[in-house]
Subunit: 223 residues, 2 copies
Amino acid sequence: MSRVEIEKKIQSENDRVAEGNRRIFNDAGVFVLNIISSPGSGKTTLLEATLDRLADKLNIVVIEGDISTERDMDRVRARGASGVQINTGGGCHLSSRMVADALGKIDLGPADLVFIENVGNLVCPSTYDLGEDVRMVLLSTTEGDDKPMKYPAIFHEASLAVMNKIDLLPHLTYDMEKVEKEIRVLNPESEILRLSALTGEGMDAWIEWVENGMRRKKAELEG
Amino acid sequence: MSRVEIEKKIQSENDRVAEGNRRIFNDAGVFVLNIISSPGSGKTTLLEATLDRLADKLNIVVIEGDISTERDMDRVRARGASGVQINTGGGCHLSSRMVADALGKIDLGPADLVFIENVGNLVCPSTYDLGEDVRMVLLSTTEGDDKPMKYPAIFHEASLAVMNKIDLLPHLTYDMEKVEKEIRVLNPESEILRLSALTGEGMDAWIEWVENGMRRKKAELEG
């Protein structure tokens, strides 16, 4: 079998298992986001800030993906999330099989909301369906304003793009309009939010977006 | 053939072609760096700042790796480099074969120094030898101070770690000592430099490091 054939087989097996995950998530009535970004764009910091605002009223599960360490799981647990750390041991993205295995260790019964934090990588996770409702790309201002066209796949695949670290804009040369224009070229349907998970600027709109997503999902499942 | 067997075959084929590249580089007497980092850590900005200081006295070739666009090649050409842009079209790292193909389009005759800028990815490029003399990891302060242990392979493989964007330290919570300690746990031999490619702070030590590397390589080839 050639490498291309093997990759195709892996993708189709991944899609099959992702459908199983999606059924499990739907049966539990949870809204699921798969968060993808470069290393250090602020995925875990955004989850911490989100937990600070929602953990009192919602049951939130986090599935953490990393090559190594439990660091991110420790951080979100300290803010009130339950969940599981997946260590890929070198693997450059989460697969639906890894998430399925993690789901075996999680009680989704009481859960309202699930975040899957993918391995820090703007390339490889782009096309791997994990069974999520929303694939989301997080982009930080400090990464520079030329990224969408250089990493087109994830911006094409993601239905939500969130710009993080807008608190650092005064210290950077960064053209927000240019970034948004490029994202819309790659995906005209993409929603775009701007925020700073650290200072809280823009967090209200993000929380509203998440809560609207939960309501939409609930309505779909009931309809 | 299983996926693991295919990966092994790919790695050994990559090593074989990398040796060919290394012979070509050595025959031309050039010093070669393979620069690896997350997207947006400042690889191209460091090359621009390096070219501003060295392009007058040295012939510098840059091999640019990106999934898409010629943006980085345009930037380094404007600062006096010659070279070739490789577009991987989705591929998450450069391979020695891509570099070998690029070398077919480059005249190394007058060259003194070659930089290979890998695809922005802290995971996949780590173990792919391209025939370089030095594998170097660039880490920016804005990515957070927890990265080495979370992405251990590249810090283990790289003989030089460069911290970039130290100009932003006053606006960040970042423990430089912690980062350096983690790098040394993963690779006690690693050299570490701190700089800001934007403001120029620390650039003298970097330029000196490059020039020493060139001298060392020349002595090895002559000895």
